[in-house]
Amino acid sequence: MTDSPPKTPSAPAPADPFNRQETLTADTFLRGLWQENPVFVMLLGMCPVLAVTNSAINAIGMGLATTFVLLGSGALVSLLRHWIPKQVRIASYIVIIATFVTVVDYAIHAISLELYASLGAFIQLIVVNCIILGRAEAYASKQRLLPTLVNGLGMGLGFTLALLSLGSVREILGNGTLLGHALFGEGFQPWLVMVLPPGGFFVLGAWLLLFAWLKQRRERRILEQAGVAAHG
């Protein structure tokens, strides 16, 4: 073994850009929660985000249902990735997704009739949530099972988190409650418009404004530091 050239231990195999297998790291999971948050960063899946977030419990239910579909369809797409012909892949993904959504639809119907009634058609509309198709196309169709599951879980939880941050704000402002518990005294006048459709647009807009402001402030600070360093 002494005559072999010294190996560089940290150098990975040359990456093939078309068939890159991602190694499983914490980042695989965490990316979906913050850095590539499907709602706040990528602006995907807007319809359920706005429509079912008039209370925190609806937001959680919707988020978990979406996470389940994301995991199930991701796993199946990842397992079948060598067998699905490229020309019909989108149609195949949609059928796989629709299957899992039907499962979720019947499951929620059986578990909680109340939640089923308040989410309404939006459970079935998970089929056309762009996050799920986007993950299937961009991630699951290229990666092995385990990273797909971990990444899907991260994305799903990121989605749930975003829904919850909208849902809780709208419920507190519009109804004075959080998860059904009253937060304020008798004198509280609910800001009713927040639980109605316009509130969804306003609250999401406000969150995006906040994030844009934070980002701008951070960038300015980095710029200032760079300026200080350059001037010595």
Binding site: T102, Y106, V127, P198, G200, A212
Partner: protein, 196 residues
């Protein structure tokens, strides 16, 4: 079977329960293609066409599925129908208007995942509309979609010329605008018959 009158169905779908501003369906194309009035108009027309085609086919398929007692396949069948209808529109547009094809870009195939269309098919099934009612409902929904897109595009074209703080440019501003529009549409709520 629902016995709502046809004008009421149309008005309900187009204005009172506007698909975009009151039911939050089809937000992605609403935010994505409403920067210019011309694009918005074409997108609205394409979507309306797909709505009508898929609504009529969904009616037929639903009848068949109920006959065969296969209702659990409804969702899969609907989405397959919509995907085919979109494919049809895409081929048509590509052949007859390549310029339009380019300006709509990725949003044309994405009509498949426009929840307004699947939502329409699901709502008409839930409300048990008959054939003519479904047709009117889909036309109303299409008209409402065009209306919302055009209003938004008009506002955004004006805003191009306005000086807004850099923080609020982009998506946040569009959402605030949509909120104001939605607030205005709430004024129609008294006209409506019921939800959905």
């Amino acid at each position: 079977m629902a016995n709502e009158s046809l004008p009421l169905i149309f008005l309900n779908a187009a204005v009172v329960n506007n698909f975009v501003l009151a039911l939050f369906l089809g937000i992605c194309p609403f935010l994505g293609t409403s920067a210019k009035k011309e694009t918005a108009w074409n997108m609205g027309l394409a979507t309306t066409f797909v709505m009508v085609v898929s609504s009529v086919s969904a009616y037929g398929i639903n009848w068949l599925l109920v006959e065969l007692q296969l209702e659990f396949l409804r969702l899969i069948c609907y989405i397959a129908i919509i995907a085919s209808a979109v494919q049809l529109v895409e081929m048509f547009v590509k052949k007859y208007s390549p310029a339009l094809f380019r300006s709509l870009g990725i949003f044309l195939p994405l009509i498949t995942t426009n929840c307004a269309i699947l939502g329409l098919a699901l709502f008409q099934t839930a409300k048990e509309y008959d054939f003519i009612q479904s047709l009117v409902y889909s036309l109303g929904a299409g008209a409402g979609f065009i209306l919302a897109l055009m209003l938004m595009a008009g506002l955004r074209e004006r805003l191009e010329l306005a000086r807004v703080p850099t923080v609020s440019q982009g998506a946040a501003m569009s959402l605030m605008l949509a909120g104001l529009l939605s607030l205005a549409f709430m004024g129609f709520a008294g006209l409506g018959a019921s939800h959905g």
